[in-house]
C-alpha cells in the first residue's frame, strides 16, 4: 500500500545536508490589507440560535458522546443507544415540545442543536432524529392531545424507543404507493394492520432491528370498503423485554456503508390489531361505527399536509451537511498550511500544499460554497421556525418552506460528499486514516443524499414548483403584459441565436479586459447572470412542455421525461441563485469592513465558479461573450490567490474547537514533526560529518572540467 510517484515537478534533488525543511511563517495577509474579524464572523455563522448551538457544541465535545473507531455493528449500536439515553436524560430535545406539553416550542433551536450532533457521531445524530424528529414528531404533529398525553413523555425520555415506519422495500420516495393496509374492524373497534407481500415490508427504519418498542406506521386507511389513502398509526412492536409482539416480524438490515450505530431494519405486520384510537387522527378520523371524517376534504391535499412535517428532517440535514463540510475543510485546509511537499518556489524549502495552485483550486471553491450554504441554511431555519412556531403558518409559507428545503437539502448533501472526498484526497494517505475523520464522515453522510427524500426526487419537486409558478405567472399577467412577455421572449431567443453581438455587456466591455474583469466581480453582474439563468432554464422546459398539455397522462409523462435532465438542471440553477443571494445578503449584514471585503471575494469566487461550471450554457445562450468567458477563468484563478492569505481565518471562523475537530493532522502533529526534522537538519549542517551528495559532487566535477577546458 505504498509506492508513490517516482517523479514530480521540479526534479531537483536537494543536497542531503540541506534537505528541504519547513521554515518561515505561514502566509498571513500583508499589513494594511483587509483582515477578517474572526470572533465576530464566528458569531455571524452561529446565527440566531447561537446559544443553543454553543450548548450543543459543549455537549459534542464530551468524549462519551463521540464516535470511536473499529467497533462491530453490534457494539456501535449499543454505544449509540447508551448515548441516546444520555441525551434523553439531559432533555436535549424537550425544547421542541409545544407550550401545551410544557415546552418552549423552540423548533428552530431544536434543529440548530440537533445539527451540531453530526460532529460527535452522525449515527447518534440520525438515531436522535429517528426518535425525536420522526417518531415523536409524528405523534406530536399528526396526533391529538390525548395521543400526546399517552405517548409523548415516554418517547421523549426514551422509555419507548420508536421506529418511523413509512418507507417500504418496494416504495421509497414514492410514499403515495405504499401498500401496507390498516383496515377498520367496527365489531371490535380495532385497526388490522397488514403487510400484504414482501415488497410492502417497512424497510431501512432506524430502531426497527433491535430497540423499537413502538412504531408510527404509515398504512392505507380502509374503512367501510373505501381506501382513504396513507395515514399514520401508533403500533406497539416489542414488549418490555424486547420480544416482538404477536404478528410483528422484524429483520435486520445488517451492515451498511455508514451510520452503523443505528439498528436499521424491517418490520412487517400480520393482521396486527390496535385500538381505534391508535390512529393519529389530526387530519383524518374514524368513528366507532367506521365512518371516516377529515378536516381536509381533498385526499391529495390531506396527504401532503400530513407529510408536510417531514420537512423538519430535510431542514436539519441541510444544516448538518454544512457543518460536516466545515469540519472537513477545517481539517484539510489547516493541514494544507502545514504540510510541505516538493520543492516548488524555493529549491531548499518545500512548499506548503496550500501554496500549490491546484490545491487552492481543489479546496477554496468548496470553502466558498460551504459559506454560501451556511448563510442559505440560516434563512431556511428561519423559514422553518416561522412556520412551525405557528407565527407564520400559512399554506403559502409552508409551500415555500418545502420548496426551499427541497432545493437546499440536495445541494448541501451533495456539497458535503464532494467536499469530504476532495479533502480526504487532498490529505493523501493521512486522509485515509480513520483518526483524521474524513472517511468516517463520508461513510456516514453518504446516505444523506438519498434518505429523507432522495436528492433527485426532491430536485424534481423543486422543478415542478418552478414550472407551476412560471405557468401561473403567465396566467396572472394581462393582455398588455402578455404582449410584453412575448416581445421579451422574442428578444431572448434572437439573442440566443445571434450570440452576444446585441448585448450591452459587450459594448461596455469595449475591449478592456481589466474593466471586463472588474465587472465580472460586481454583484450586479453575478446576480443578473444567475437570475437570468434560473429563469431561462425553467422557461425552456416550460416551452418544451407546452406540447404535453391536453395529452393523455402517459403521453404527457413521456414528454416530460424527455426533458427531465433539463428540469433537474433548472432546479439546481434555482438552488444556486438562492444560495448566492443568501451569501450576498449575509455579507450585507456584517459591519466590519475587513470581514466584508474578504467575504465579498469569497462570494465572488462562489458566483464566478457557479458561472464557470455552466459556462458553455452561458456562451450558447449568448449571455456571456467569449471575451468575458476567458476573463472569467483567469479571474477565478486570481481570486484563489487573493483569498489564500485568508484561508486559515476563514476556517477559524467556523469556531470549531479541538474537541470537535479531533483529527491529529489538524491539531499540530504535522507541524511538530516538521520542526523536529528541521532541527535535525540544522544540527547536521552545523556538524562535521554531514555527507555530501553525489549529485553535488557530479556538479562540482562538471564545473571543474568546464573551468579546466576554458583554461586550456
Amino acid at each position: 500500500m505504498t509506492a508513490p510517484a517516482a517523479r514530480a515537478l521540479p526534479d531537483t534533488l536537494p543536497a542531503a545536508g540541506t534537505s528541504p525543511t519547513p521554515t518561515g511563517p505561514i502566509p498571513v495577509p500583508p499589513p494594511g490589507s483587509p483582515r477578517i474579524d474572526v470572533p465576530a464572523l464566528t458569531e455571524v455563522l452561529l446565527g440566531s440560535w447561537a446559544e443553543v448551538r454553543r450548548a450543543a457544541r459543549d455537549r459534542v465535545a464530551r468524549p462519551e458522546l463521540q464516535r470511536v473507531e473499529d467497533l462491530t455493528v453490534a457494539q456501535h449500536r449499543e454505544r449509540v443507544f447508551t448515548q441516546m439515553q444520555l441525551l434523553a436524560d439531559e432533555g436535549v430535545s424537550r425544547i421542541m415540545l409545544p407550550e401545551s406539553l410544557g415546552g418552549p416550542n423552540d423548533n428552530g433551536g431544536n434543529l440548530a442543536g440537533f445539527e451540531e450532533l453530526v460532529m460527535a457521531d452522525p449515527s447518534l445524530q440520525i438515531k436522535a432524529g429517528v426518535q425525536w424528529g420522526l417518531f415523536t414528531s409524528a405523534i406530536l404533529q399528526l396526533g391529538s392531545r390525548e395521543h400526546h398525553e399517552r405517548w409523548i413523555e415516554d418517547a421523549m425520555s426514551l422509555r419507548t424507543p420508536g421506529a418511523f415506519a413509512m418507507t417500504e422495500i418496494g416504495h421509497g420516495s414514492d410514499v403515495q404507493s405504499l401498500a401496507t393496509t390498516a383496515t377498520y374492524d367496527a365489531e371490535t373497534e380495532e385497526w388490522v394492520l397488514n403487510t400484504p407481500f414482501r415488497a410492502a415490508w417497512k424497510d431501512y427504519l432506524g430502531n426497527a432491528a433491535i430497540h423499537a418498542r413502538a412504531a408510527t406506521v404509515f398504512a392505507r386507511l380502509i374503512t367501510q370498503g373505501v381506501d382513504h389513502g396513507v395515514h399514520c398509526f401508533y403500533v406497539p412492536v416489542r414488549d418490555a423485554d424486547g420480544a416482538l409482539l404477536p404478528g410483528i416480524s422484524s429483520e435486520d438490515d445488517g451492515p451498511k456503508g455508514g451510520l452503523n450505530g443505528i439498528d436499521n431494519g424491517r418490520l412487517a405486520f400480520d393482521h396486527v390489531r390496535v385500538p381505534r384510537t391508535n390512529l393519529l387522527n389530526r387530519y383524518g378520523d374514524v368513528a366507532a361505527d367506521g365512518t371516516y371524517t377529515s378536516p381536509i376534504e381533498s385526499p391529495g391535499r390531506r396527504f401532503f399536509t400530513m407529510l408536510g412535517t417531514l420537512v423538519q428532517g430535510r431542514v436539519s440535514l441541510d444544516g448538518s451537511a454544512i457543518r460536516a463540510s466545515q469540519l472537513a475543510l477545517e481539517i484539510a485546509i489547516r493541514y494544507a498550511t502545514q504540510r510541505r511537499q516538493f520543492t516548488g518556489a524555493s529549491p531548499t524549502q518545500e512548499t506548503v500544499l496550500l501554496d500549490y495552485q491546484s490545491h487552492l483550486a481543489r479546496l477554496l471553491p468548496k470553502l466558498a460554497a460551504t459559506y454560501a450554504g451556511a448563510f442559505a441554511h440560516e434563512e431556511l431555519l428561519h423559514a422553518f421556525d416561522d412556520v412551525f412556531s405557528g407565527r407564520g403558518d400559512t399554506p403559502e409559507a409552508r409551500e415555500d418552506l418545502e420548496t426551499l428545503a427541497a432545493a437546499l437539502k440536495p445541494t448541501s448533501t451533495r456539497l458535503a460528499l464532494d467536499t469530504i472526498q476532495e479533502c480526504r484526497e487532498a490529505c493523501g494517505g493521512q486522509g485515509f486514516l480513520a483518526e483524521n475523520r474524513f472517511v468516517g464522515l463520508h461513510h456516514d453522510l453518504d446516505v444523506y443524499a438519498t434518505f429523507e427524500g432522495d436528492n433527485t426526487v426532491l430536485l424534481q419537486l423543486v422543478g415542478k414548483r418552478l414550472l407551476a409558478d412560471y405557468t401561473s405567472d403567465l396566467k396572472a399577467i394581462d393582455a398588455a403584459g402578455i404582449g410584453r412577455f412575448i416581445a421579451q421572449r422574442a428578444e431572448a431567443l434572437s439573442r440566443r441565436h445571434t450570440p452576444w453581438n446585441r448585448l450591452v455587456q459587450n459594448a461596455s466591455d469595449a475591449g478592456s479586459a481589466r474593466r471586463s474583469s472588474q465587472s465580472l466581480r460586481s454583484a450586479e453582474f453575478q446576480e443578473a447572470m444567475l437570475t437570468e439563468r434560473a429563469r431561462l432554464k425553467v422557461e425552456e422546459v416550460a416551452l418544451a412542455l407546452r406540447s404535453a398539455s391536453g395529452k393523455a397522462p402517459d403521453e404527457a409523462a413521456a414528454i416530460l421525461n424527455k426533458h427531465q435532465v433539463e428540469l433537474l438542471d433548472a432546479s439546481r440553477a434555482h438552488a444556486d441563485l438562492v444560495r448566492w443571494r443568501a451569501f450576498t445578503a449575509g455579507i450585507e449584514g456584517i459591519a466590519d469592513e475587513g470581514t466584508r471585503a474578504v467575504l465579498t471575494d469569497l462570494r465572488d469566487l462562489f458566483g464566478l465558479t457557479l458561472i464557470e461550471d455552466d459556462l458553455a450554457w452561458f456562451l450558447l445562450d449568448g449571455m456571456i461573450s467569449a471575451q468575458r468567458g476567458r476573463a472569467l477563468k483567469k479571474d477565478v484563478l486570481r481570486l484563489l490567490w487573493r483569498l489564500r492569505p485568508h484561508a486559515l481565518d476563514l476556517v477559524d471562523a467556523f469556531g470549531l474547537e479541538p474537541a470537535h475537530v479531533r483529527a491529529p493532522i489538524a491539531l499540530g502533529a504535522e507541524h511538530e514533526r516538521q520542526e523536529e526534522a528541521a532541527a535535525y537538519f540544522r544540527r547536521l549542517r552545523a556538524s562535521a560529518d554531514a555527507p555530501v551528495s553525489e549529485k553535488a559532487l557530479h556538479r562540482a566535477r562538471r564545473d571543474e572540467e568546464r573551468r579546466a577546458r576554458s583554461r586550456s
Copy 2:
C-alpha cells in the same frame, strides 16, 4: 433513517385496487435493429490474457476468498492473511517469476490475474500486491541472482511476509526527499539503517503492523562521506515468533477508510545493522572497503531507473479500477431495469428506473467511459508486458509505458470512485446496504486515488512529459518547419479570437442541424476535436512557460505554479484522447456488425460526453460553433435513448457471474418481490372485497354533479 420525498412527478394517486404493478417485458432492441453478440464481446473484453483471467475469476468465485462484512479490523486482517496463504499455496503469483527462477516470466498474465482479485476483496488484492508486486518484485528487480536465491522462494511462499518500506510520514509521493539513512560501516562490513526523526518513519506499509518478517527499505545510501541517494535494502524486522527485532519499532496505522484487511503500519530503525550484501545492488553497489559503483552514472537517471519497477502497481490498479467500475455498473444497471418507481409513462404501471432520462444520464456515460477504460487498459497491459518481458525493453518504451500508466491510473481510479458513488446513489437505500457491494467497493477503492502515486502528482508527471515532448518537437523541426508551425499558431490564435466564422465546419454545416449532428457522431470529428484539444492545451501552457526559461529555479517554479491547473487539465485531455483512441481501435478489431454498431454508439457517447464536459473550452477556442454546441447536447440525450435497449447486453458482456456480483439486488430479488406484488393485486382485483379509493369516489361524485348541472 426513513421519511422519503412527499411528492414527485406526476402525482396521480393510483386507485387502491389497481395499485401500480410491474408488467411487461424489460425493453430489448426491436427486431431488425443491431444486437450485441454478447459472448463474443465478452471474449474481446477478456483480452489477450483471457485464460489467466478466467482462472482468476474461478478463484474469485470461491467464498473462502471473498470479503465478509462486519469484521473488526483484527478479524479482517486475520482472514485476509489466511486467504493470502491459500493464494501462496496455489502458486498464484509464480507466473511472474523469470526463467532463471523456473517461471514463465508472464508479467502481463500476472497482472491480469491480480486485477480480478478486486472482486473477491480489495484488501486481499492489495495485500497480495504488497507481498508479491512490491516486496518480492523489489528483490527481483533491484537485487542480484544471489538475492533471488536467498529470498525469493520464501517471499513467494509467504514464509517471509514482507513490507515495502518506501513512503515516509513526511514524504509520500516525493520519494527523492526520503530521510531514512543507510550508512556503510567498512569496519564490520555492515549497513546501519537509521530513522533520524519522526517524519522519517516509514508509514502506510502493508504488512508492517503485524505480519511482516522482513522489509525492502528505501534509504539514502551513505558511504565514505557521500550520499548516493535512495537505494533499497533487505532488512529483517521480526523473528519467527513475530517479535520485533532489536532496533526495529513498529506502530499500527489503525482503522482506515477501507482495506481494513491489511495491517498497514509504520516502521522505524534505530541504528539497525544488516550485512553489506543486503543492499539490493543491481543499480548501485558498495565494495567491502566502502567504494561505491553503479552501472548508471547519473544519480538522477539511476534513481528513476530503480523506481521504474513501480509502474507495475499503477498498471494493475488501472485494470482493477476498471473491473470495479464494471461490477458497480452491472449491479446498478441490472437493478435499474427491474426496479420500478412512480408512475411515469403509464398511470397504472410504474416506470423502471432506467427508463427515466435522468437515470440514463447518470449511468450510461459512466458505462461508456468504463468501456473506453477497458480498451485502454488492454493497451497499457501490452505495453507493460512488452517492456517487462524484455521483448521491447528500451528506454523510450519504458518512458512511454510510465507516461501511459501515469495518465491512465488517475483517470480510471477517478472513474471508479465516481461510478461506484453514482451507482450507489442510483440504488437509493438498497445501495447503502453493505450486501449490495457499492459501499464496500467505494471504501476500499478510495485510497486507489492517492496511493501508488497520488493522482495529482501522476498527472503532473504526464504534463511534464507532454511539455518536454512539445519542446523537443519544436527543436526537431527545421527552419521551414518552424515557419509552418508559426503560421499554424497564428492561424489558431486568430481563430480563437474571431470565433468559428473561419472554420470549415460551419460552412459544411450550412444550417442543417441534422447534418451537423451526423457529423458530430463521426469518428473523424471527435478525433479531430480531442486531438486538437490535447495539443492546444499543452501548447498554451508551453507558451505561457516561455517566460520561465532562464529564470532562477524559484522564479521558474512560481511561474509553473501559476499554470498548474492548466497543466493538469492538459494531462487529462491527453488521457481522454488515449482512451478515445483505444476505444475506437478496439471497435475496429471486432468482426460482428451488430456489436460494432452498438459499440460505435457507445463510443460516440463517450466522445461527445468528453466534448460536452469541456464544451466551454471548445466554444471559447472557436473549435465548436454555438450551433454545434447546441446540437451536441441534444445528440448526447438522443444517444442515451438509442443505447437504452442495449444496456443489459452491455453489462452482460462483462462476463461477471453471480458469484462475482453477489449483490442481491442484481440477482433477481427485486424482480421476485415485484412479481409477488403483482400477483397480489391481480387476486385483489378479481375478488369482491377490493376497496375503492376515496379519490376515485371524489372523481365519480364530481362527474355526477357535473352531469346533474348539465341536466338542470
